[in-house]
Assembly symmetry: C2
Homo-oligomer: 332 residues x 2
């Protein structure tokens, strides 16, 4: 009556072999006799058998599931970065026939890694403990978007310093000297590095760094408004803004336009991300710094896979960022 799932025992009985043979068929088909392989194969199909992942895992096998841990900061589901990472990883895993176990956490640290074969961290923001625990339990893992120098762990990042440098240098090369930087949340490594890149470009070009030109907006659009109001409140004479994300750059444009200023004629803008949602914001193509998120995701999966298969060692990869020139910057 009950349409229960069939088990390895059912298959073994029906096919007239032992469960060990069925197990071998599942894990290493070439290790059993042709004849048995055919019999088992037929029976598996007939009974629509598929192994219980948890039984398999308990017996020392693999579940075929990777974990993806995403810090649940505010607005994470509106974050281009987070969504691209989920998308990229989901896409690669699918082609590998591996399932995804997504864990988005806020505050608490309750990821139970027991179901997964390995873990990918999409950034580490306040969850160093989680990472440490995973490493301690010897679960293979890879970190994206943060270089964790103090730990023996694989990572995939871009050179955010260079990204910030490129963006700022591009503005400088167009004759801008008074450049505002809207930074992301400085708790986050990539935001700090982009800021450092900005400073470094100024220094190299003998431009004085003005603290009043550096604002922090948490990567969210909401806070950008406040930053811009501050910039405009004093005696402002800046001619360009470099924002640490395209979303923030878009908000800068909106703000400037609401103020009656033309972009880029009166204010040039550079963003970060190459977010397709903002490519053509209010008809302005935003010049931006592209990070190859899909490549990073795919790279992370591959490293993890090899780690799980014990084929490779810890590896720290850094991709180069790329300046994408559109039309939100003019010379002056």
């Amino acid at each position: 009556m009950a349409a229960q799932k069939s088990t390895i025992n059912d298959v073994a009985r029906e096919a007239g072999v032992s469960i060990a043979t069925v197990s071998r068929f599942l894990n290493n088909p070439s290790s059993i006799k042709e004849e048995n392989r055919k019999k088992v194969e037929k029976t598996v199909k007939k009974l629509k058998y598929s192994p219980l992942l948890y039984a398999r895992k308990l017996a020392g096998g693999k579940s075929g599931v990777y974990g993806l841990i995403i810090p649940g900061y505010e607005g994470v589901f509106y974050s281009f970065y987070a969504m691209e990472i989920i998308r990229g990883i989901g896409f690669v895993l699918e082609s590998l026939n591996i399932d995804l176990y997504l864990h988005i956490f806020r505050n608490k640290d309750k990821f139970n890694s027991s179901l997964v074969d390995g873990v990918i961290f999409a950034d580490i923001i306040g969850n160093d403990n989680q990472l440490k625990r995973v490493i301690k339990e010897k679960i293979p893992c890879v970190v994206i978007n943060k270089i964790v120098d103090e730990l023996e762990v694989s990572s995939v990042t871009i050179d955010n310093f260079k990204g910030g440098y490129l963006a700022t240098e591009f503005l400088i090369n167009h004759g801008h000297k008074n450049i505002v930087h809207i930074a992301g949340d400085l708790e986050v490594q990539c935001a700090r590095e982009r800021l450092e890149g900005y400073k470094s470009a100024l220094i190299k070009n003998n431009i004085k760094i003005k603290d009043s030109y550096i604002k922090t907006a948490n990567f969210s659009r909401l806070k950008v408004k406040k930053c811009m109001e501050e910039c405009f409140s004093g005696k402002n004479n800046f001619t360009a803004v470099f924002a640490a994300s395209d979303e923030m750059a878009a908000e800068v444009i909106t703000f400037a336009q609401d103020k009656g200023l033309e972009v880029p004629q009166q204010i040039s803008v550079v963003g970060f991300d190459d977010n397709p949602f903002c490519n053509r914001y209010n008809n302005i193509g935003i010049t931006t710094v592209r990070q190859p998120l899909q490549q990073m995701a795919s790279s992370a999966v591959n490293i993890l896979k090899k780690l799980i298969e014990k084929k490779k060692e810890i590896k720290k990869i850094i991709f180069p960022p790329e300046l994408v020139i559109r039309d939100s910057v003019v010379s002056r």
Copy 2:
């Protein structure tokens, strides 16, 4: 040496009780003596013990993980609907201390439900078989966004017919008679129903349905352009467009503006979703139909939870849609 995870045996030994007592502590703490409870609690903390979900599940328990299955249609990761559902469900589950197992599939049907206690389907698009299998295996489940009349399964939806009707009626009430409808992918139930709502509103108001006014754009922005080109190619005299999503509505606005037409002065537009990304598209607040996605998500989780706890029966919930009036429609 090896920092292995501690097991229930370690805890039992260390605390001087049997593993059964530890198990009881985990699942029903009030059933053991105060004294033992304290001892076990202390030991659990000391050893940083947490049960292996798969061992638990194999022994007939729960994993504390719900599955969320999302059809991986093109652009799913840019889909407001999909992201809101993930967000809403993630948010509710987090407060319940339940983990999420996200499965986004394309083509193949390889969801292995064995790790989860229950499953939520975010829409059914071409994966009826998956749903049927889950039901057959007696795994508790809930479907969002599609009413599956022919199956005994819980569902949470909105009244999409009514949504389409409201949108169209609003345009008619503003004096529009020539109304284009940009439908979503008609493989998807909600798109069909919105279209029916549109037709019904026209009929009720004695306006003839023109096939040339009905275009299908797959919910994606790309196809909208083609639809609009078609609309404009013939002798067009439509004055309004009702799009089955805000994203598509935004694209309609872009297209019209590129054509040199003013929105809403020359063309009124109504969308669907109340997508905050499009709230203020090119400075135009889009009038739209809101579906309470967060509520739907939360409702789905609650139904599933009760199903798993065997406290409730199959339930089909239909939420009402709500017209949100902004400024993309003018009378004529």
